[in-house]
């Protein structure tokens, strides 16, 4: 790993690149800091997806965010998948590559979902070893994202935040800290999101995700189809105070609003992070509260 690039540049606040907004983006080249793309959508031979991606890349930094690495699966790592991911990275030169701390399938199947891992020493060792293989193959460190979860295993021997920390330290990779996922999982399982934040090693965090959820009554569902909730903005401010201003992405995948709405969310994240970071205290400052109140008005 000593020869691998270790830089995760600070990109500012970005949004996801989604088909619905291709026209807006390619015609106007809007003011946004960067784009995150779903890697698998562009692991194709040609056509419009790659045309758009390469056009966007000429104007903005991009990050490849995958959903099928399945780093926690007990199936072998997919060589074909990694090769195509590496080829895509060579083509578009992303700022970094990320995926999720989860598994997506077993016995050759893909559930196309981000399934939770048991928080056990067996899983830590298994995942860390695979992350090292992936990083060696790609020639770079990756970021792993904490997923939202709807079940926890009885045989877990540690809380999620200790599991996340153990994996990234042993694998020497980074964290994509999804603030909404912390909030959703905390509600679903009854733990404190603040306790989660306080346990995450700040030096490993290189990106934040912010997204909206759906309230199903008995659980919160990480649906990425709403604005970021007030409580998640507050948790984000806590995360910035703890980890510093890291590249932040607004994730909105369904019931997509106009691009200007995403821009507004990104701009709010930018302002909130700036005010919070400069405040430099643990208590929520009046200035940060004012930024929040102004946005929500």
């Amino acid at each position: 790993m000593s020869n691998m690039p270790t830089e995760f540049p600070s990109l500012g606040c970005g949004v996801g690149l989604r088909t619905k907004h291709y026209g807006d983006i390619l015609n106007v080249w809007p003011a946004v800091d960067w784009f995150e793309v779903i890697s698998e959508n562009f692991m194709v031979a040609g056509g419009r997806p790659l045309y758009v991606l390469e056009a966007v890349r000429t104007h903005y930094p991009i990050v490849l965010h995958g959903v099928s690495l399945s780093i926690g699966s007990t199936d072998p790592l997919r060589r074909e998948y990694l090769t195509r991911l590496k080829d895509l990275a060579r083509r578009v030169e992303p700022a970094w590559i990320s995926d999720h701390l989860c598994w997506t399938g077993v016995a050759g199947h893909n559930l196309h979902d981000l399934l939770p891992l048991p928080y056990t020493e067996e899983a830590v060792a298994h995942v860390a070893a695979r992350v090292q293989q992936v990083q060696d193959f790609l020639g770079r460190r990756i970021l792993l994202e904490n997923v939202s979860t709807y079940l926890e295993y009885r045989h877990s021997t540690m809380p999620e935040w200790e599991f996340l920390t153990a994996v990234v330290e042993r694998a020497d990779c980074g964290i994509l800290l999804d603030i909404n996922n912390i909030f959703v999982s905390a509600f679903n399982h009854g733990f404190s999101p603040t306790e989660y934040l306080r346990a995450v090693p700040p030096h490993r965090v290189h990106q934040f995700h912010l997204a909206g959820y759906s309230d199903k009554g008995s659980f919160l569902h990480d649906t990425h189809d709403h604005p970021v909730a007030d409580a998640v903005w507050e948790l984000y401010a806590q995360a910035v105070r703890r980890c510093g201003r890291k590249s932040t992405l607004i994730e909105w995948d369904d019931h997509l609003p106009s691009f200007s709405v995403l821009q507004a969310e990104a701009a709010h994240a930018q302002r909130l992070a700036a005010v919070t970071h400069h405040a430099g205290t643990d208590a929520r400052t009046d200035a940060a509260a004012a930024v929040d109140a102004d946005y929500r008005a």
């Binding site: 698998e40 959508n41 692991m43 194709v44 031979a45 040609g46 056509g47 419009r48 997806p49 790659l50 045309y51 099928s68 926690g72 699966s73 007990t74 997919r78 998948y81 598994w103 399938g105 077993v106 016995a107 050759g108 199947h109 893909n110 559930l111 196309h112 979902d113 399934l115 891992l117 048991p118 056990t120 067996e122 899983a123 298994h126 709807y150 079940l151 926890e152 295993y153 009885r154 045989h155 399982h189 009854g190 008995s218 659980f219 569902h221």
Partner: protein, 274 residues
Amino acid sequence: MPAPTLAQTQQLLWTLITAPEGAAAGLDRLAPAARSVAASLAHGDGRLSAIERVDVYANMYFYRIRDSLKDDFATVCAVTGEAELHNLITDYLIAHPPTHFSLRYAGQHLPAFLDGHALSGRWPYLSDLARLEWAILEAFDATDAAPLQPQTLTAVPQKRWPELRFQLTPSLQLLDLNWTVHNVWRQAQDELPLTDARSEPTSLRVWRQDLRVFHQPIDAVERAGLAALAGGACFSDVCERIVAHAGEARGAERALSLLGGWLADGVLSGYRLD
């Protein structure tokens, strides 16, 4: 009871999530030993029991793939309607649980699956329609290739034209169908009421030009010409094939007309002169 291994955990959860009648039914169908492990796999509480939590994932699995297939096979779904679609996807996922890393390929088996499905009793053209929609998908993100420009051919001496071996654009697919499903597809695109396809041998060429995908019916003469090109035949052999189908009187004229159309449509991406 010892804690399940990571592999056991994942296999059991996969089984419960993919059970077509829901996680509880999937749990009941397990052998007693596996059922005992699975039943105690997850925490439950007053808000959601353990099996209800598994069902959150089971629902996401089904509906995520259903929504993806609705996008990829929009006209098939318009023909069947929501209720029948739900049953179709349920049956399809039992037979073909996804294996590819990309959701883009979740429907790769649907055209063939529809051949033997009960819905084809009501709509016998459904499989052909799915084949057309899949071909459109394949063309959409096929390998890029610049179209052969007509003026490039002016550099080829006339006496060497018979030796030309044209290359077809990578996105080109030839479909041999039994129903006029391209009409149903067009009706859906134009938001017109759908009428059933006619039972009639139908060949279509599907291809991408620049970033747009096209398809159109072709006759037996063009089908023969394109098949010859796809097989690597030289231009003289292609023309012979065309003449054999079109007849001596019209064959040469037809060959040149087809060549002009293929060039204009971007179906040809290059040539080789040995």
